[in-house]
């Protein structure tokens, strides 16, 4: 880009530049994930992919609307239970089981979102946290979730009728396809006129209102979209792991998704993916140290907030002056 070029030409060139960057970044990520099972245990990567989608969906709210939800575990967990129940008790095919979980999460998102957006700022976080705790207690007591045992031995079946998920390779690439689908939905939403309005709300809500936007409708739409995509992650995760348990509805899971996003970079497209990979890897390798994992997670929170608010991808993007 030449400095003397007229502003419009520069902008056009930069737009083309960032479009090309985005395409390259996406292709690199796809290739890395496609090749990952050659070097890493595939089940581990699948779990990471589900959490990455979960974190990306969460980031849609915190990164692009500025809404901190502290209750997103309810969408992951509820969808997990619904999908596992649909697959095991009703014998639905995996794609329909997952869709059932997505629909359930979207409805839950509609109800909880409509309540939570009645208050702003820090109250929004407290309300979502309280509502998710309510869902947690519901899952502890409801008969179909089987309490402490959870739903175990969920059958995997054949995805779309012809891809047998009993085959580990078929399963892996199906999960990768689901993740990429969710990722692209979020990418598209963020880079659309709808996404621009969400960012306007994040930057200055009163001004967005004065421009005539019905801010509450946009917030609710973003909340439901985020909940539905968390449901996609949760449903897929339950079918892949063949179980649904209380861990995924517990508020510590809500904290973890906040940490993944904060560590990777709030408001960046790839940040949540990086954050999710790091946290899942950390939990895997530090599992034998018991509660030290919690201590380390807490310490990362503190360090990120004090020194490192852009997150890993955010810092890299800032360094190279690119939006990632």
């Amino acid at each position: 880009v030449t400095i003397s070029a007229p502003a419009t030409a520069t902008e056009a060139a930069e737009a083309a530049h960032s479009g090309r960057d985005a395409a390259i970044a996406f292709i690199v990520m796809t290739i890395l994930f496609a090749a990952a099972p050659l070097v890493v245990y595939p089940f581990f990567v699948m779990q990471a992919l589900c959490f990455a989608l979960f974190a990306c969906a969460f980031n849609l709210l915190i990164g692009y609307v500025g809404l901190l939800s502290f209750g997103h575990a309810m969408f992951l967990g509820a969808a997990g239970y619904l999908s596992a129940h649909a697959a095991k008790v009703w014998g639905l095919a995996p794609e329909f089981s997952i869709l059932f979980g997505v629909a359930g999460s979207a409805v839950l998102g509609l109800v909880t979102g409509a309540l939570a957006i009645r208050r702003q700022g820090i109250y929004f976080a407290m309300i979502t946290l309280a509502l998710s705790q309510m869902i947690y207690f519901f899952c502890v007591e409801a008969p179909f979730t089987h309490g402490e045992d959870g739903i175990q031995g969920v059958p995997q079946g054949a995805f779309l009728g012809f891809i047998p998920w009993s085959n580990p390779w078929a399963l892996y690439y199906s999960v990768l396809a689901i993740f990429l689908f969710g990722f692209l939905v979020i990418y598209r939403a963020v880079n659309s006129p709808f996404g621009e309005i969400l960012k306007a709300i994040r930057e200055n809500e009163p001004r967005a209102i004065s421009l005539g936007y019905r801010v509450d409708h946009y917030k609710l739409a973003a909340f439901v979209l985020s909940a539905a995509l968390c449901g996609l992650a949760g449903g897929t995760k339950a079918i892949v792991a063949q179980n649904a348990s209380l861990t995924d509805v517990h508020y510590s899971m809500s904290g973890e998704v906040v940490l993944m996003t904060l560590l990777g970079g709030m408001g960046t497209i790839y940040g949540p993916v990086v954050g999710a990979l790091i946290l899942v890897a950390m939990q895997n390798y530090l599992a034998q140290y018991g509660q030290w994992v919690t201590v380390i997670q807490g310490a990362i929170f503190v360090v990120c907030v004090l020194l490192f608010r852009r997150g890993i991808v955010g810092e890299i993007a800032h360094l190279f002056k690119r939006s990632l």
Partner: protein, 295 residues
Amino acid sequence: MFAAFAISPQALFGQLLLGLINGAFYALLSLGLAVIFGMLNIVNFAHGALYMMGAFCAYFLLNDAGLNYWWALVLAPLIMGVFGALIERLLLRRIAGLDHLYGLLLTFGMALVIQGLFQNYFGSSGLPYAMPSALSGGRNLGFMFLPNYRAWVVAFSLVVCFATWFMIENTRLGAYLRAATENPTLVRAFGINVPRMVTLTYAFGVGLAGLAGVLAAPINQVRPLMGADFIIVVFAVVVIGGMGSIMGSIVTGFLLGVVEGLTKVFYPEASNTVVFVIMAIVLLIKPAGLFGRTA
């Protein structure tokens, strides 16, 4: 009425008392949260962990220093207050002026560190803390048996809550505090040391949490996670009451404790969730909260 629900007055008043005690803890904790939020603009997610540390303080004072409950009642809030002042000086001060959400995330991280460390050293099971001998036993009121310690917790918490309310609403120090909440720059221009007031406010809120921990130690066992779930209910209490009013926090805290106690009698399945349901209803009817002034 008792016949209709087939419930003994003994059970009803028993649960009502338990509800009042829980309400006392809700009030003490949400009061601390409200004071801290007013001055620092931070929702202190570590409040539950600090409440737990207050209980552990009492435990250590008894078992390692041989200081009994009454000493703990004075010393534990002071120790926790000093700890709070350190946290404010070393950590919270660095994020002053940033978006609210960073305060929540920072204190959430602190809570994870504190609870994780205590779990590492003490496991997840409870440690017993003996009831002070002067308050053991109880008296028969005719319609119910009233354990002395429980009556003491309710009475003492009420005194602490109203003393706090009086201090903030009716003393010169409280006037400075309220003024600094409204406009710290202007208050500073009048020669008041606002940064020191911020530190003391956080220390005071943490001290209240520590005090609640000491009061809770003989009733509930001393456990590393005793504050982890509790703080979420307190958050719901804060949403219901609104953090704008001191008296609002106190009244809402006791009220919800009683409602929770009554739910245990009439519909026990919902006793865990009733506070959250009430929160949802309040949000529908009066989004700013019962005592809230702004949304």
